[in-house]
Amino acid sequence: MTRRLQAALVAAIIAMGMLVPTGALAHAALKSSTPAAGETLDRLPDEIELHFNEPVRLIRATAIDRNGTNQALDADTSGADVRLRFSDPNIRGTVMVSYRVESEDGHPVGGTLVFDIGTPSAKPLVAVGEGSGLSLPIAIWLVHTATVLFLAFVVGGALFDRWLGARNSPTASAATVMLPGAALLASGLYLQGLDEQGSGLVFAGAAPLEIAVQGNAAICASLFFLSLLTIALPLARSKTTGRVLAVVALMLAASAFTFSGHCSAADPRWLARAAIFLHSATLLFWAGSLPSLWKLGRTSPNLRPLSSFSRMIPIPFLVMILAGIVLAIVELPALIQLLSSLYGRILTVKVVLVVCLCMVAVYNRFWLTAPTLAGNPVARERLRRSIVFEIFLAVAIIGTAGLWRFAGPGQVEAAEVSQVLSIHLHSEKAMAQLELGAEASGTRKVHVAIMGPDFDALDPRQVVLRLRNPGSAIEPIKFELTKAPEGGWEVEGCPVRDPKGWLADLEVLVDDFHAVHLEGGLSD
């Protein structure tokens, strides 16, 4: 036999040995841990120990505390044991330690250990991305508020000037509209991308933009951009086309709002979207008119625009408020819970501000406008001061509405607004109704009803629920459910508050040798 043939044979035998038994190689499994899952400790131990059934290599380990802060853990691995240390030892409340290890067969396996330090968190864990803090939400809010105000003053202002304004009112140059507009829209998109990426307020190259352009935020920003562009067109300088283009710009901007926010996803969708369209169009027009009105009172002896504005403003104002009421009703499932949710509190503040605004507007309209038009200088000065106050209120209202970005009923507050989260899962062999109810401690109690594929009774031997949140790097948390006295299966202490991003895998042991998996997302 030649040397080459000999070498080939040797290689072939090794290859066969490697290929054939792939199924025989195994995953690592967690045998035990200190602290054990669900344990309550007085203080954070120096080390968290994980014991596996075979040697592993740690890929990643993170801890998420009750504030949703994600910290990476220092780790030591020796054979089948992994020891993890916290960099910040002052953790209290419920802690989730999420790990991912590679077992000898090269397959990564992950899991999550949940335990409590002191008492379980009253404020429950929120699954958020790594490194999040307050700075990103504040930046998002500032940019959002600035964008809406800028749009109102440019688009709404143009509509006022071209339809009601003095013929010779100066039009803004293309650069003063497009440059700040593009900067605001681009930074808004970048921040949105950072938020979706979950990376906090950092510079992260072009990646956040790439993420953001895939979502609704990009449609929204493009419509805003088109709207600004319509105003900035040289064509818009002529009288008639200018008027038409100002209306087109307002409609573009208003339709952009229907692609953003929680309202656009509320049911019935057509009603919510129509209301958003009307609400934002009238808001943009009204808020945009204010600076022009103020300027009018300062310089121009021609008060004709003021009289036209005062004649027609009740109609859009009414539309704005009616559409706002429709939105509030569509969005808020139960008005009783107005004050118990962040959404409701923001709404309350906004309503108070709107009431103030209405009073100022009525005062202007019925007490000041007529004397001003008659040439009374005292009334004119009062009207100007009160318009400044109106502008201040408009900024406050837009700023308050911007806070909804962080408190939509579809998001975090779902747990508070609708107390029970109900999910239906099914496969060919079984179906399940999962109900996640809120507990006083802030965690959730899971109740599962299991049926056969035709709603027939199914009495499983065992039910195991695995919850994971890939977006927040939370590996599966395993819960063994127990039979509930009133029927069905249940478990307490499930640390899911915001259902967004959580995936459930319900393993139902039908009989000794048959298990069925029912899978689905909690926020679907």
């Binding site: 090794i14 040995g17 025989a24 190689l25 195994a26």
Partner: protein
């Protein structure tokens, strides 16, 4: 030459047997219509506890299953009707052993053992079929491991914590 082949063989065997944490079948494939010797390899107990019982579900299409007696363990066989009738050497068979149970012995967590049965793969099973053999491993203190997960469409046994051991039915080799 012989020596280097022996080293290669040893290396291949070690690569195969290094981490048998699951219960697996030694032979990963067998021809359709022939007898299959199923060697179940039990590499560990349930979370550290000793194994005291092995229950094997004989899947549909494996005919006339016969366990190999094992010293220290008693054997129980459960008979049941098959889902359909199979042709075994010209005779139709409609029922047979559907479950084999080894009990009465003790296999410590840090020891290894094999449980063997033999069965005929029905001719009706087409090559390319993957046959899963669900096994329930019962241990001391009521602990149980169920190696019964059959992958859903689009998933592999690696996606499960406790996959059922399996083998593939292949074309009869031409002789």
């Amino acid at each position: 030459m012989l020596k280097s082949m022996a080293i290669a063989f040893a290396a291949a065997v070690c690569a195969a047997g290094a981490a048998s944490a699951h219960i697996t079948l030694e032979q990963s494939q067998t021809p359709s219509g022939k007898a299959y010797k199923a060697v179940l390899r039990v590499g560990h107990g349930c979370e550290g506890k000793a194994t005291i019982k092995i229950r094997v579900k004989i899947p549909e299409g494996l005919l006339s299953a016969k366990p190999m007696p094992k010293s220290g363990w008693s054997i129980e066989k459960v008979n049941a009707a098959y889902e359909k009738s199979y042709d075994l050497y010209g005779k139709p068979v409609r029922e047979g052993v559907s479950e084999i149970i080894w009990s009465g012995g003790t296999l410590a967590d840090d020891e290894y053992d094999e449980f063997v049965f033999r069965a005929t793969v029905a001719k009706e099973i087409p090559p390319g079929t993957r046959i899963y053999v669900p096994v329930v491993q019962e241990c001391a203190e009521g602990a149980v491991e169920r190696w019964i997960e059959v992958p859903a469409a689009g998933k592999s046994p690696d996606d499960y914590e406790t996959p059922a051991p399996y083998f593939d039915v292949v074309e009869q080799p031409r002789s």
